[in-house]
């Protein structure tokens, strides 16, 4: 290690941490962190602006998977999509919020492991279908649910989508991250087989499923207590 590594650029990281912890507006925090990082690296202001601009244009493909389904979801919600999803799940007698999410986790993770990563997602699946179904499944057995408990389950629906995607996709051989790992190791003179990298991911993928599913089932069992506590808080 050479001693001339500059630690000043870490100021940007500090700005992000402090900003998020103190709950400033995240958009503003990120912009300030960017400018601070540039200044700490002794870049002139016009170059910092240019870098912000180039980066923002280069990454404009990121919001597309969120934006493109919006018109469909909006239209269908206007015509009762959530109501229909809720009625459907209410008709399944053995469905509980936790079990429903375990099933979703299983499908999401398995599909991702076969390279089908676009099966799911927060805009096309969680907001219009999975979250309302989870709420309906919980309400079916426990009646109307207070807002904090409702929010907790909705958050859990999104969390389940993320866990399923992340720990599934990385055991698919042709996935970008495996290519990235293999290429990087090869550049450093270490030969690996992509298939081995994919296979050695399987124990973690199974552990991720077991841990998250166990939490979902536990949350199911604690639902009556959670509701009672939230109600007590409300009347306080």
């Amino acid at each position: 290690m050479t001693a001339d590594v500059s630690l000043w650029p870490l100021i940007g990281v500090a700005v992000v941490i402090v900003g998020f912890v103190l709950r400033f507006n995240p958009v503003l925090v990120v912009a300030v962190a960017g400018i601070a990082t540039g200044l700490a690296a002794k870049l002139p202001l016009d170059l910092i602006l240019a870098k912000l601009g180039t980066g923002f244009v280069k990454t404009r493909n990121l919001p597309l998977t969120l934006l493109l389904p919006l018109p469909i979801i909006g239209l269908l919600e206007r015509h009762g999509l959530r109501e229909r999803a809720q009625a459907w799940i209410a008709g399944i007698r053995s469905a509980t919020a936790g079990r429903l999410l375990v099933v979703y986790l299983f499908i999401r993770e398995l599909a991702a492991a076969m390279g089908l990563t676009s099966l799911g997602g927060h805009a096309p699946m969680v907001r219009p279908l999975v979250a309302p179904m989870t709420e309906a499944a919980a309400e079916k057995t426990h009646g109307p649910i207070p807002q904090p408990v409702r929010d907790k389950w909705k958050a859990m629906a999104s969390a389940t989508d993320n866990v399923g995607l992340f720990f599934g996709e990385d055991i698919f051989v042709a996935f970008g991250s495996i290519v990235l790992m293999q290429t990087f190791l090869a550049e450093n003179g270490i030969v690996t087989d992509p298939l081995h990298i994919a296979l050695w991911g399987i124990p973690t993928a199974i552990a991720a499923f077991l841990i998250h599913a166990a939490r979902l089932i536990r949350l199911d069992h604690r639902l009556p207590q959670d509701i009672a506590r939230a109600r007590a808080e409300e009347t306080k």
Binding site: P9, G55, L66, L70, W88, F166, D170, G201
Partner: protein, 319 residues
């Protein structure tokens, strides 16, 4: 080689939709900040419509303006002509399970397109740009799904845009966060944040103990990912810093195990950071959660337990 379907066409569509959203907002008298809110959507539209043509400095100024408008309360909610619950219930009963079809269309076409459109030619013309095949398929799925939804509900395309505006306004300025954070990540790389973090982690850790070295690699991957919001950025840095010289060089570990589980340690970090806005902050906005960090809070126990499991797995499987 030129292709029939290009990512640029999706940018164009998105840009036009955002312009219409901006105009709708400017005309919405129920919105207390309709001028600045409309400006926000219009500026974002400019990035999609003219991003490649603008000088980088000008795009940079747009980014700063977007951040200022979004960060200082310039973007507010208007009123939307939502329907009564009873009306929605009636059409839910009328349309039944058909309501699910357009959504399945997005998903299925996205899958089919990704799997089949690769290297398909009409004459010498490529059907879809190879490197953007997934996004183009998602776009095709969205267009077909939209056509189906319009036909089924007998609404106008304008209504679809009004509904998009309703959803965009619910999410608010957070919708530009993924792009802002990815940009910050690029700036971090240029400024040498990676080098600084690697320097800190590798300089102060007693790595001759295999278990400590493994734990340092795993925790380093998670922490670095939390800072950069992206495990792909963390992998080369941590692997060059600790992985190759110490885990492989000093302790003779199996490189495939190290890479596979190391990357997963990074993913545990992704579950715990607001920097991964696409996965953690946007869903909170999309689900209208009161707590903007609600999704991270829900993921925290899974991420921490799994990180511990990963450290044990690395130690057991690698040597």
């Amino acid at each position: 080689m030129t292709a029939l379907l290009k990512l640029d066409q999706l940018f164009l569509l998105t840009g036009i939709a955002l312009v219409i959203v901006a105009v709708l907002t400017w005309r919405d008298r129920s919105n207390p900040r309709r001028w600045s809110s409309g400006l926000f959507w219009a500026l974002w539209a400019v990035i999609y419509l003219a991003g490649d043509l603008l000088p980088p400095m000008v795009s940079g100024l747009i980014v700063v303006m977007l951040a200022a408008l979004g960060g200082l309360g310039g973007v507010s909610l208007g009123k939307h002509g939502t329907r009564e619950p009873a009306e929605r219930q009636t059409s839910a009963t009328r349309l039944g399970n058909k309501l699910f079809l357009p959504i399945l269309a997005i998903t299925l076409l996205a899958l089919v397109g990704t799997l089949t459109l690769k290297d398909v030619h009409i004459g010498s013309l490529l059907v879809a740009e190879t490197k953007n095949i997934t996004l183009i398929s998602v776009g095709l799925g969205a267009l077909v799904g939209l056509a189906a939804a319009l036909w089924m509900t007998r609404e106008t395309p304008m209504q679809a845009l009004r509904e998009s505006r309703r959803l965009l306004e619910t999410m608010g300025p957070a919708v530009i966060l993924p792009q802002m954070l990815a940009t910050l990540g690029l700036l971090f790389t240029d400024a040498g944040v990676g080098k600084a973090v690697a320097h800190l982690t590798t300089s102060y850790i007693p790595v001759d103990n295999a278990f400590i070295a493994v734990a340092a690699y795993a925790l380093g991957m998670a922490l670095f990912t939390m800072v950069m919001g992206n495990a792909f950025a963390a992998f080369p840095v941590m692997t060059a810093g600790i992985g190759i010289p110490i885990l492989l060089g000093m302790h003779h570990g199996n490189p495939a195990v190290m890479a596979a589980i190391g990357m997963f340690c990074g993913y545990c970090g992704t579950l715990m950071t607001p920097m991964a806005a696409n996965f953690n902050i946007i869903p909170a906005a999309l689900l209208e959660l009161k707590d903007k960090n609600g999704v991270i809070r829900a993921q925290l126990p899974t991420a921490l337990l799994l990180l511990a499991v990963n450290i044990v797995l690395l130690k057991l499987l690698m040597f």
